[in-house]
Assembly symmetry: D2
Homo-oligomer: 147 residues x 4
């Protein structure tokens, strides 16, 4: 077994338990579940970064997903832990990009990599809005280093 990885390229690192229910009939974690991991990684990031996410209120989540993509590199088992590493790849006026690299905690092997484009969104008025300044500062702290 490869020894677990302790250094990651992307600056925000979080972990989550894989569930038995994330696997499919092939026996590995289903490709759709990986996108659930991305989403939950964002919840961790928002909580850590105070992204206007005050808790259980729906309106406190002023973001929508505009684009999402992943390369699937290696399978994950349902009884492993996924290490979700994230960085901010680009910051625009109302949109920003999360870069992602996901790893098996057990083996240290990369399982998937990709990115998600988020747009700040005013749910009440149903339109995009500029990134709030305080959140923009948070995003800048997590910029992905150029390769």
């Amino acid at each position: 077994m490869t020894s677990p990885k302790t250094e990651y390229r992307l600056p925000f690192v979080t972990e989550m338990e894989i569930r038995f229910g994330d696997a499919d009939a092939i026996g590995h974690v289903n490709n759709v579940a990986f996108f659930r991991f991305l989403e939950q990684g964002r919840v961790h990031f928002m909580k850590a970064g105070k992204g206007n996410l005050s808790g259980s209120g729906i309106r406190d989540f002023p973001y929508v997903v505009a684009h999402s993509e992943l390369d699937f590199v290696a399978p994950l088992a349902y009884d492993d832990i996924v290490v979700i590493t994230m960085g901010i790849g680009r910051i625009g006026g109302s949109s920003f990009v999360f870069d992602y690299e996901l790893f098996s905690k057990r083996s240290g092997v990369m399982a998937a990599k990709g990115n998600v484009v988020m747009v700040c969104f005013d749910h009440d008025n149903n339109r995009s809005m500029p990134i709030p300044e305080e959140f923009r500062s948070t995003l800048k702290e997590y910029l992905t280093d150029p390769v």
Copy 2:
């Protein structure tokens, strides 16, 4: 806020992260997700109790669910942690019962209680089988105290 509960009636206690994706359009954790929590609690129990669950092999999970029920007592928020407490309510020849009480970690409030009847199952021959003796011993260590 109620102070978090530190003592539980049922002897096996484990925790898991609730995911944003466990909530539904009403804004609370969906009733179906609670049954996912029960399943993942069983994975924790099997890992802790060495229930012939050697890892990723499908045949190493020689159990099927025969019955499952829950009373929903109080809602859970998606950004809470669910405390899953479990005990063994009955041990038969090939079947046994998991008692469950689920709590909000944040508030200590009970969210749901119920039970699941499991049957030891020989997937290769497609029939029930007696509880393996070693596993029976494990089950006995976690018997639910009478109320």
Copy 3:
């Protein structure tokens, strides 16, 4: 192969496609997915019965699940269609019971049976409320025949 069943004990009959994602690593439809079928059966019932469910508004779904239980009788394959049959088992002041029997469309075999207790709920004031009269009339049309 048993010929498909054309008569059912419970008066409301609906169907839904099983998804590949409803199966788990054992290769059958996961027990948790069955509770998803119950929920979607209720959506079909509400749409057919005009249960104050006007469409996409969350407040138009004035019900919560108080109890849910299933006996798992036979496995379902992910490429089958599930026939969800439902009846109203009891009507109280603010609560009522859905009886359920689920079948494989392909084989006609019963896959699961159980019931769900619903409570009419005023989400705005966070408390139960009496069953609206118009909906009570609808429920009466679907009473389960005594066995």
Copy 4:
């Protein structure tokens, strides 16, 4: 209301019911559920195209997902039907590409578009394999017209 669309750019057209459980706490179909729609669209395609998918056997699904991406164009409601349109964007030696455009059946509006790269995979020997000739012929019938 826009009248439903009856012509689509991509040659394979299928539909599926959106479930209440596909929505999230924001009230729309969750972005992760869209990738579930892509997967189920592939199941429909494989069944229609005889893609070596003989039914419930896991080994009969000799494909893995190598890449998946979507642009999210407009929200979907949980009580709508999603029209999944698909074409084959590229056929290589062992890989091929599904192009996707997803629509709301109710409004005819495009909800998402993207593509998924599949690799033919020999699960028994854990390696990619050439596209079987019979399946290659099927794929050619569904090539995406150039824009």
